[in-house]
Symmetry: C2
Subunit: 470 residues, 2 copies
């Protein structure tokens, strides 16, 4: 019996081994990495996953778990050599249970993030994790990478939203940790070991998540200001006055907004004049919209009197609300339309951000005339997408000049992040993209602890090998 026939015989789900049909699973969606696989398997249930992983363990075949295949760091793409099975969870897409009194939902790992949000919404609840790929990415992938997004300031990362997990471990055992408890201190925190481990310690097959009350009203404001220092002052004021209601605090440079206006139909700043920087500030709560609006108004009045801000618009309809949010959410797409990109997903102590942006922008532009900065991010979480695009002076044929500086630029930016005790991967995970750089900044003891954890949970190194740690 061939290996593929042997694998196909042990479980009841779908198996794909035709190269054409496998192709979509073997390349990440940005097209940066392509790998090889013996087969792509799509189990129907946790038992199936267990049988597949046990078979792989017995046959020395690597397991590469994959959700919606929307990751940005290559964590779900198999390596280009070796014996790999891609374990696609997308057919495991059932909501198992909703408990509205307990504010929890339990589901298969292959449910898309959008479907989680919709299931919560149907139960008159909110599941707050929200990010660009939500229509395709799966909750299992979100947990495996500890995804962030635009509501972390109020509700936390994927890790903070998870109460319980079901995991198939490297030998094919099923760990049922599907608790739905707010408090549980009965041993080591296995759940948080698997969350963020990108499938290298086990395969997440199910999860129990927190639900929240749906806010009655949401109001967003688009605010012009001179620099990130002013944005930080505004953030502090907003936290002092309305910490209960502050849901998002996003920073973006005028360059970002110009790109969105250029590349996205109908996108337009709601403000009459331009400014170097903008903030998107959202309040949401169980109050009436009118009350929220006047809270933002008085907040902005104080900021205006102090000369921290130059101008501001406040949403007074759903259309305006969505239009302001679109300016922020379309930046990535607009930057992509402008040509090659160099991206950094960094986080810093919030207090260090204004000086960091000033200093590192200056260093980069002084050294690399082929680049311009495209800086935006979740200022309230200390998380910047500190990106670069080719300089306006560069025509498209000169793009390789820009591409050639990527490694140097990464090193410059990440060394600066490290010097500020920041993180070089705030919400995108390590995958293969940042694996070696992350290792370079680690202390020896940290490398030892992580590698000993990996050996202990995956002694044969068959769970998504080569991701997170080498």
């Amino acid at each position: 019996m061939s290996l593929i026939d042997s694998l196909a015989s042990v479980f009841s789900g779908k198996i794909i081994s035709d190269p054409t049909d496998m192709a979509a699973f073997l390349t990440d969606w940005r097209g940066k990495w392509t790998g090889v696989a013996l087969a792509v398997v799509q189990p129907d249930n946790t038992e199936d996953v267990s049988l597949v992983v046990r078979w792989c363990n017995e046959h020395g075949v690597s397991v590469v778990p994959q959700g919606g295949n929307t990751g940005l760091s290559g964590g779900a793409t198999p390596s280009a050599t070796g014996l790999n099975v891609v374990l696609s969870l997308t057919r495991m897409n059932k909501v198992r249970d909703i408990d509205v009194l307990n504010n929890t939902i339990s589901l298969d790992a292959g449910v898309t993030l959008l479907a989680v949000q919709e299931a919560a919404d149907e139960a008159q609840k909110l599941f707050p994790l929200s990010l660009a790929a939500e229509g395709t990415c799966t909750i299992g992938g979100n947990l495996a990478t500890n995804a962030g997004g635009v509501q972390v300031l109020r509700y936390g990362n994927a890790r903070d939203l998870c109460l319980g997990l079901e995991v198939v471990t490297s030998d094919g055992s099923i760990w049922n940790g599907m608790k739905s408890l707010r408090k549980d201190n009965t041993g080591y925190d296995l759940k948080n070991i698997f969350i963020g481990s990108e499938g290298t310690l086990g395969v997440i097959t199910g999860a129990t998540l927190k639900l929240f009350e749906k806010p009655k009203s949401k109001v967003v404001s688009f605010i012009a200001l001179a620099d990130p220092s002013a944005a930080l002052r505004l953030l502090k004021l907003a936290q002092e006055l309305h910490s209960n209601e502050l849901t998002a605090f996003e920073l973006m440079s005028d360059e970002c907004i110009q790109l969105v206006e250029k590349h996205v139909d109908a996108a337009r700043s709601p403000l009459a004049s331009r400014s170097e920087w903008y903030v998107l500030l959202e309040l949401s709560s169980s109050s009436e919209e009118q009350a929220l609006s006047s809270r933002i108004e008085s907040l902005l009045e104080i900021a205006m009197e102090n000369d921290w801000i130059a101008d501001a618009a406040i949403s007074s309809s759903i259309a305006q609300f969505n239009a302001i949010w679109a300016l922020r959410e379309d930046i990535s797409e607009a930057q992509a339309a402008e040509g090659k990109t160099i991206k950094h997903d960094i986080s810093l102590p919030i207090s260090a951000i204004p000086q960091f942006i000033d200093r590192v922008t200056k260093r980069l532009l002084d050294s690399y005339s082929v680049a311009r900065m495209v800086v935006f991010g979740h200022l309230g979480d200390g998380n910047l997408h500190f990106n670069l695009s080719p300089a306006r002076s560069l025509d498209k044929s000169q793009n390789e000049l820009f591409t050639s500086i990527e490694a140097e630029v990464n090193k410059l930016v990440h060394d600066e992040v490290n010097a500020c005790n920041g993180s070089i991967s705030a919400e995108h995970g390590l995958g293969v993209l940042r694996r070696d750089e992350a290792s370079r900044y680690r202390s020896e003891i940290e490398r030892n602890l992580m590698s000993s954890l990996k050996k202990s949970f995956d002694p044969k190194n068959l769970m998504n090998p080569g991701k997170v740690i080498s």
Copy 2:
């Protein structure tokens, strides 16, 4: 050179080896466990801790980390046999740094919880972890046991409040994980492995914690209602209307309040008539107190119209606020004054709590006429202190009749908890008290994962051996 002299020579902090001076460190504060130690060491800094642990590792001596020695599960008491060193962190009590813009505080593990709260307060911020032992317990102990307390509903457990850790590992290495970031996905989550591991994987020597805005106003209400089902309805309504501001939702039976009134001077229910059950509900926010009070009033009006509640009092002064909270906080002390106790620190899906209380109370009282129930807890977190005291009919000389049922009662209660997919240790940890029971409810794979983690982080089994897992 004797072992003690050898130990004393490697570090610069204090060493205690006189049996009389050591006594206070060798017995837990409830007096349930007493152990032996070669010495008690009190290092001055992290380097010192590292040197002590390295010495222990080289000499095959067990390390028993201890903070304020206020734990309820015997996790900080050395075993009664063997070669132990008690590693007391209380001399490491410096606040290292406060960053008000980043909303973080970094400190030594030996700082008392009260001192953390006070340092935050001085900086016009809030550190919300709060529990009865806060004047004595240390933040290192709080993190090692993932402590809970009365504000978990709004702010989370100790785990949720921690951004970074410094840990001395079993070989004496210092892991510097003192990040102060809201987002960081650069590898396995070592921080959450150490939090809640009760010193069995390493010694927490420092931490970086989240700070919050101080609420401008707080209002508490004491509410009479017929049963836990009504309390659950009220909780749901409070969450729907005021989830942003709901800080505490505590349930207690009339038995609890009667004990407090009997044993605590000046304690008195603010309500004219008695009821079987009471709820303490707190709102806090950046609004004015008047606004909060009227929100509670309209909430209670709805509940009254629906016949969910019978009567209620709302605090209108600091004295009233404190008096209502004292009724809740003095229950443990009042129960202790009544004689022997049998305690359970359990958590359940919140939706399961009313039926659980009914069913298990009936089973217990039907089987054990020597007992009465003393039930209270953090209903908003699903965490009950499902306790028993000797029946009123029992005089003190018959206390052993009550004590003799403890093991059976524990088993009955914990089997019921397990059947509801609950936890038998919500916020007190396992220590030695619940170690074997917790193991009994664990699946084989869970036992294997925990024991493999322990072996990997502490190969010689010298870090607080015999705690958490056997």
